[in-house]
Structure formats: structure tokens, C-alpha cells
């Protein structure tokens, strides 16, 4: 530990300019973020340009600091003075970790606490989020750049490597949507994100430990390449497997067998088999789900389904469950596009829809009244909210700020207490037009919040349908 402290002091002395710049950027970031707290009652003006700029500058300052720190004892190569000195690799690594903790993590933690205080949050109540945010920022913004620096001999090489990786990332992101593999995960997206973060962080950690312990750069570089490939393979994670994992994280156990899925005969008029161009047929079947526990409301995440005819012909739906279920005009539909040939073959015989519905049940409704023009008040699941009348009381605003999570409600099913973000507070503004109620005198906004309690897969089988009965020639807009 003494050697680690000794090296730490040397680095702090060497990199004092970089440290000063980083702390300055953190201070500016804290100031701009905290200042936004005082604009909660002023929803019109957007004065966040500096804040946006600083969210770029802050990681940049960290990356330069970390790269300079690691390159102070360059790991690849055979000419560095320190490699033949009595450095203990664990002390050297500990010194670098201590430095990052002291000049990256600790200032950011202080900044987060200051911002929370400015908004009126109690930091002690937010400790899990504060700590998890540090873990995510370390995993995504600190470890990878440290690992890259450990694989490069200097700043120029690092810059070139970083640029190549960024270009590859951009190319991958441009290419992937066309493959259609990464769309539609929505609230489950956190599983893929955490897979990537885990691969990134573990590979970076392994590279760092390997490099500091052995300094065998060629092998470590191969490990980096393997990690990039492994990260890219996230597109191969099956959505259904992700949902199965999500189900295990349900807060409330609910037996899927209590749900019943049937053809919605009351809305039979809404069923359609639409002949489309290119010899394709768009099938939409209205369904109902019964047995949802009282006080809960469903959100349909996806469905898998096959259309089976009595002659044994089958049309399997493709591997994008999120595209086979939708709600529109208060109707729940199963939908699929089938080949024209298959349709013509089965349209006049009874078919069966066999598959599984993936849904999330929301519950635990909590209702809070937020009086207009009152100080911010706590709204469960939303953070601190204020309600403000606009000019002439023709409009009203509800502004909510929550710590580390999206105040609009759980856009993600992530069980973790923080998302990856530099700013600990997310604000969201809801506009309420009073135009239609010119004589109403609103005194408070009523906010109802629910939370996802259970994630269920319910198998279904709907028989006795004749697709030909639903045939239409023109698509209904």
C-alpha cells in the first residue's frame, strides 16, 4: 500500500494540470445541472446548452486524464524505465485505481450529491442510485479507456485505436437496424445493454489485470478484439430468453394460467386479412385477455404465434415478437404477415392460432395531488413534482424530477436503481392545455403512478377461425 500511495502522489504531482481541468469541468457541470433545479418553475426557457456541452466535455476530460495516467507507466514496449524497477504490479494497479477514485469517481459523487441537494432530494435516501451510477460510469466511461490506454504506447496510438473503434461502432449501428434484429426491445433493452456493459467492463478489467501483471500486450489485444466481437453478438440474444429472465425478476408472483386469451368475437368486425402488394397478406385478429387481477393493467410486450390449418399447413411467425401484438383504438390485436400462397391454401378452412403472449402487469396505483404553485412535493415513482399554471391560466405544466430514472414512468423494466447518465436528475414536463375548459379553476394536478409488478408468458390457442371471412382488399388506414 505504501508503494501504491507513493506512485499515486507522483501521478497527482505529474498530472496536476489535467486534474485541475477535470475538476473545473466537474464544477461547471455541477453548477449548470444544479442551476436547472431553480428553473423547475420556469418551464418555457431552455437554458441547458451549457449542460449539454458539459456532458461531452466531462467524459473527454476524464478520458484524457485516465489515458495520461496509464501512459505515465506505459505498459506495452520494452524501453520504459519503470519495467526494470522494483514496481509491484498490484501496487501500480492500486495506485492507478486510487487515482481514478480520487479524481474521477469522488468528484462526480460529490457533484451528484450537490445536484440532488439543489433539487431538494435527500442524498441519503438515494445511496443505492448514487453508488450504482458510479458503477455504471466506471464500467462504461472509465474501464474501457483505461484498458485501451494499457494496450497502447501513447496518446497518438490511443487516438487512432479509439477512432477506429468509434468508426466500427458507427458502421455497426448503421448496419444493424436494416438487419431488423435490434428494434422493438423497448423496456427489455436494459438486458442487452447490461450484457454489453458486463462484457465491456469484464474484458476491460481482465485486460488491465493481465497487462499490469504480465505485460503481454499481444495476448491482451486479442482479448480486446474478442470482447468487441462478444459485444456485437448481443444481437443474437433471443428476445424470448430476455423476457424469461425478466419474468424471474417479477416483483409479484402471478400464475399465468389465471389469464385466458380468446378471439374477441365482439370485435369480429375488426379482424382482417388484407391482401397486400407482393403477394403478401396482412392478418390482424382481435383478441381479449381475461383474468387480469383487479387493480392491474396489462402492457403487451410481444407475442409469438403460428397459424395452423386443418390440413397440417403451418405459417410460423418470424422472430420479432414485439411486431405480432399491438393495441389500437382499445382493441388488442395479434398480427402477422403471411405468404400469399399459404393464405390462398388455408383461407377457406378452419385455422388455429397457436402461440404465446408476453405481457407485463402494472399495479400498485398511487394517486398524489400536486397543488399549483406549491413547492416541489414527492410523488411516488416520479420524484419531486411541481405544478405551474401558464400565462393567463390557459395552460398548466406538471414538472417532475426523478433521481437516476426516467420520471415519465418506467420506460424500462430494469431492476437497477440507476441508468447510465452523468446527470443524476431527469426532469420531465407535462403540458396540460386548459383551452377546452376556459371556465374551470384548476387548483391541483392529480398524478397517478403504477409500477410493473409481473412479467408473464401466457400460451394460447385460438381455433375455429377462417381467414377468408376476414379478407379485405384495401388496407384500412
Amino acid at each position: 500500500m505504501r508503494q501504491a500511495l507513493h506512485i499515486f502522489k507522483k501521478d497527482a504531482r505529474h498530472l496536476w494540470i489535467e486534474i485541475a481541468v477535470t475538476l473545473l469541468v466537474v464544477a461547471a457541470f455541477t453548477f449548470t445541472s444544479a442551476r436547472r433545479a431553480f428553473w423547475m418553475a420556469d418551464p418555457v426557457v431552455n437554458r441547458n446548452v451549457a449542460g449539454m456541452l458539459l456532458t461531452f466535455l466531462l467524459p473527454l476530460a476524464w478520458w484524457i486524464l485516465i489515458a495520461r495516467l496509464v501512459h505515465a507507466e506505459t505498459l506495452p514496449g520494452d524501453r520504459q524505465f519503470w519495467t526494470t524497477r522494483p514496481y509491484a504490479w498490484k501496487s501500480l494497479l492500486a495506485a492507478k485505481a486510487l487515482f481514478v477514485a480520487a479524481f474521477v469517481n469522488l468528484p462526480l459523487l460529490a457533484a451528484h450529491i450537490a445536484i440532488l441537494l439543489a433539487y431538494g432530494f435527500n442524498p441519503l435516501a438515494e445511496i443505492p442510485g448514487l453508488l450504482w451510477s458510479q458503477v455504471l460510469i466506471t464500467a462504461v466511461l472509465v474501464l474501457p479507456i483505461a484498458a485501451l490506454s494499457a494496450l497502447t504506447t501513447g496518446f497518438v496510438q490511443l487516438l487512432i485505436t479509439g477512432s477506429v473503434l468509434c468508426l466500427a461502432l458507427v458502421a455497426w449501428n448503421i448496419g444493424m437496424p436494416s438487419a431488423g434484429l435490434d428494434a422493438g426491445w423497448r423496456a427489455l433493452e436494459w438486458i442487452r445493454s447490461y450484457y454489453e456493459i458486463a462484457v465491456l467492463a469484464l474484458a476491460a478489467l481482465a485486460i488491465l489485470v493481465w497487462q499490469y501483471a504480465r505485460r503481454r500486450t499481444a495476448a491482451a489485444r486479442w482479448l480486446a478484439v474478442a470482447a468487441v466481437v462478444l459485444m456485437a453478438l448481443d444481437v443474437l440474444i433471443p428476445w424470448t430468453a430476455a423476457f424469461a429472465l425478466q419474468s424471474r425478476l417479477s416483483k409479484q408472483p402471478i400464475d399465468p394460467a389465471s389469464l385466458r386469451i380468446d378471439f374477441d368475437s365482439a370485435k369480429q368486425w375488426a379482424a382482417r386479412a388484407l391482401i397486400e402488394k407482393g403477394d403478401r397478406v396482412w392478418i390482424e385478429i382481435p383478441i381479449t385477455i381475461a383474468g387480469i387481477p383487479a387493480g392491474m393493467s396489462p402492457r403487451y410486450d410481444g407475442a409469438i404465434m403460428a397459424i395452423e390449418a386443418s390440413d397440417g399447413s403451418t405459417w410460423p411467425a418470424d422472430q420479432q415478437p414485439w411486431s405480432h401484438v399491438t393495441t389500437r383504438d382499445q382493441v388488442l390485436w395479434l398480427q402477422a404477415t403471411v405468404d400469399g400462397g399459404f393464405y390462398r391454401k388455408v383461407k377457406d378452412q378452419p385455422v388455429k392460432l397457436r402461440g404465446a403472449m408476453y405481457l407485463t402487469l402494472y399495479g400498485n396505483l398511487r394517486v398524489t395531488e400536486v397543488p399549483f404553485s406549491a413547492p416541489p412535493m414527492a410523488v411516488p415513482g416520479r420524484g419531486l413534482c411541481t405544478a405551474t399554471p401558464g400565462a393567463g391560466r390557459k395552460s398548466y405544466y406538471l414538472i417532475c424530477s426523478s433521481v437516476f430514472l426516467d420520471p415519465e414512468g418506467p420506460a424500462t423494466y430494469s431492476p437497477f436503481p440507476a441508468d447510465l447518465a452523468l446527470d443524476p436528475v431527469n426532469s420531465h414536463r407535462t403540458y396540460i392545455a386548459a383551452f377546452y375548459y376556459p371556465f374551470a379553476a384548476f387548483t391541483a394536478a392529480t398524478v397517478g403512478t403504477t409500477e410493473p409488478l409481473a412479467h408473464l408468458r401466457r400460451d394460447f390457442e385460438i381455433g375455429g377461425l377462417r381467414l377468408g371471412d376476414f379478407e379485405v382488399r384495401q388496407r384500412v388506414p
Binding site: 505504501r2 505529474h14 520494452d78 524505465f81 519503470w82 526494470t84 522494483p86 514496481y87
Partner: protein, 299 residues
């Protein structure tokens, strides 16, 4: 004397290039071992393998009896290593450089450190980046001698230095290395010759010989014969006689296994009547050049 450095069939290949081929070398404790050879012979590779800067392709290297791949900070605390192209923490001043290194070495001697700075005329407050090439080398050496290392490894330490600085460095090393083992690599033999106790000669990755300096200079002789009448060189020509040249009745060669009686008898057997025989001892540089030439011819 036990061996402080030892290599056993040590080999290093960089892709298809063999930099070192099954090298077996022993450096006895207390010796000053000069590892010589032409550029590209594998001297630096050998040293980098010994210092665990490279990993052997085959064989092994031992330092203080430990596998070089497992050298610990405790081992490095007893090693002073200075290399021709070592990268230094250039932002440090000379004084801070010494102060920074001190806690790494339990045997650090402040008085000796101060004396070394004085001896090498190093300005304490100047940053390493602002020192000349020679001064930087001196700073590296001072920082490697201040803790009385048991082993001093110098890789081409005099390359690119003027004669004055070179002498200062040699003086500094020899004056502060009491009892230490020194391994020094160089292709400039003049300074090695003056103080090396052992010599290893590397050529194209192979250790051609490794022996005590005294026995080496004893067995190399330049021989010039004036024979009675010009005639072609006799065959078979002894393998130990290299770089043979003939000019009319004068034959010159280098005997690499010189022994007075045996060499004279062999000359008489091959040439018969010889009018004059001149036997000249050879400086290390001449031995080195002879071996290099002979090696190239053989190749």
C-alpha cells in the same frame, strides 16, 4: 563463484527471424561480463530476455537463480539496469527522479546518491527532458547505482556518447560497483577490453564463445609467416586458423586456439621451411573483427 546470470538453450524468435538461438551463457558472481558482437547479433535481445522485457521462445534465463519470467520486485531491487534507448520520466527533475526512486529500494544510500550526482555533475533542479543525451544516461546510471545493486546490467551504455562522458560513466560504474556483478553489452570493444573480466561473443544470435578475458587474449594470435618460396596455401587448412591471406611469400592468419608449441609444430608440418614467424597478441577489437569476418565468410 556461483552464477548470477544463466541462460539455458535460450532462444528468441520474432516471427520468422531468429534473434537468439539456443544460447548457453553463465555469468559468475563478481565478474564484469562483456557481451560483445556486431549490431544485430542479439545482445540487446539477450539482456531484454534476462530482464523479463521479452518472453523466451524456448529455453530459459535465470537471474539470481530465479526464472527471469518470474523476477519479483525484490529481485529488481538488487538490479541496476541502464540501456541505450531507455525512456525516462522526462517531466521529473533529476532530484525528484532520485527522490521518487528512493522508496523502491531498501538499500538506497542517500550519501551515495548525492555523491553520484556530484560526480556526474548532474544539475538537481533540471528536468530530465532538458538534459543532454549523455547527461540523461548519467542520471539513469546514478539512479541505478545509488542502492548498491548486486547486479548491474548495462545495454550499450556508451553508444552515442563522447569520449569524455564515456570515461566518466566507466569511472562511475567501476567506482561504485564494489562486489557487484556487471553485465555490459557493447559493440565498441575498446572500453570493454579495459575492464571486462569475462567476454561472450555473439554473432547472428549464436554465442560463439564465452570465457575469461585472460584466456581469450591468450588464445588469439595474429601470425605472419615468411615462407621460402610462394606456394598455394596447404590443404587441409586448420579450422582454428582463420582469415588467412597470402601475398607472395608472406602468409597471414589468426590462430584462434594459439598454444606456442602446438602452433609452431603445425606451421612446420604444413609449410616446412619457414624463414620468419611473427606472433602478435591481438587487442579485443582485432579479435572481434577477425571473428566477425570469419563468421561472414563461413555464412
Amino acid at each position: 563463484m556461483s552464477d548470477i546470470l544463466r541462460t539455458v538453450d535460450l532462444s528468441k524468435r520474432f516471427r520468422q527471424n531468429v534473434a537468439l538461438d539456443r544460447m548457453n551463457m553463465d555469468v559468475p558472481e563478481g565478474s564484469i561480463y562483456g557481451l560483445v558482437g556486431p549490431n544485430g547479433a542479439g545482445k540487446t535481445t539477450t539482456i531484454k530476455l534476462l530482464m523479463n522485457l521479452y518472453e523466451p521462445t524456448a529455453g530459459r534465463a535465470e537471474v539470481f537463480g530465479h526464472d527471469s519470467r518470474r523476477l519479483s520486485p525484490r529481485d529488481f531491487a538488487q538490479i541496476g539496469y541502464v540501456s541505450e534507448n531507455q525512456e525516462m520520466p522526462e517531466w521529473m527533475t533529476v532530484e525528484y527522479f532520485m527522490t521518487y526512486l528512493k522508496p523502491f529500494y531498501p538499500s538506497w544510500d542517500d550519501a551515495r546518491a548525492a555523491e553520484l550526482l556530484r560526480q556526474f555533475d548532474l544539475p538537481p533542479g533540471r528536468k530530465l527532458r532538458h538534459l543532454s543525451h549523455g547527461m540523461r544516461r548519467k542520471a539513469a546510471l546514478a539512479s541505478s547505482l545509488a542502492y548498491r545493486p548486486r547486479l548491474i546490467v548495462l545495454d550499450e551504455p556508451f553508444t552515442g556518447l563522447d569520449a569524455l562522458v564515456r570515461d566518466e560513466l566507466i569511472e562511475g560504474v567501476l567506482g561504485n560497483a564494489e562486489g557487484a556483478t556487471i553485465l555490459i553489452s557493447s559493440h565498441d570493444l575498446a572500453e570493454i577490453e579495459s575492464f571486462a573480466s569475462h567476454i561472450g561473443y555473439l554473432d547472428r544470435g549464436r554465442l560463439q564463445f564465452s570465457e575469461e578475458m585472460a584466456s581469450l587474449t591468450e588464445r588469439f594470435r595474429e601470425i605472419e609467416l615468411t615462407i621460402a618460396a610462394p606456394s598455394p596455401l596447404p590443404a587441409p587448412w586448420p579450422a582454428a586458423w582463420v582469415n588467412a591471406e597470402q601475398s607472395a611469400a608472406v602468409v597471414r592468419f589468426v590462430d584462434t586456439q594459439f598454444q606456442q608449441d602446438r602452433t609452431m609444430a603445425e606451421i612446420r608440418r604444413l609449410f616446412g621451411e619457414v624463414r620468419e614467424i611473427a606472433v602478435n597478441p591481438m587487442p579485443l577489437r582485432a579479435i572481434f573483427v577477425t571473428l566477425a569476418k570469419a563468421g561472414r565468410k563461413a555464412a
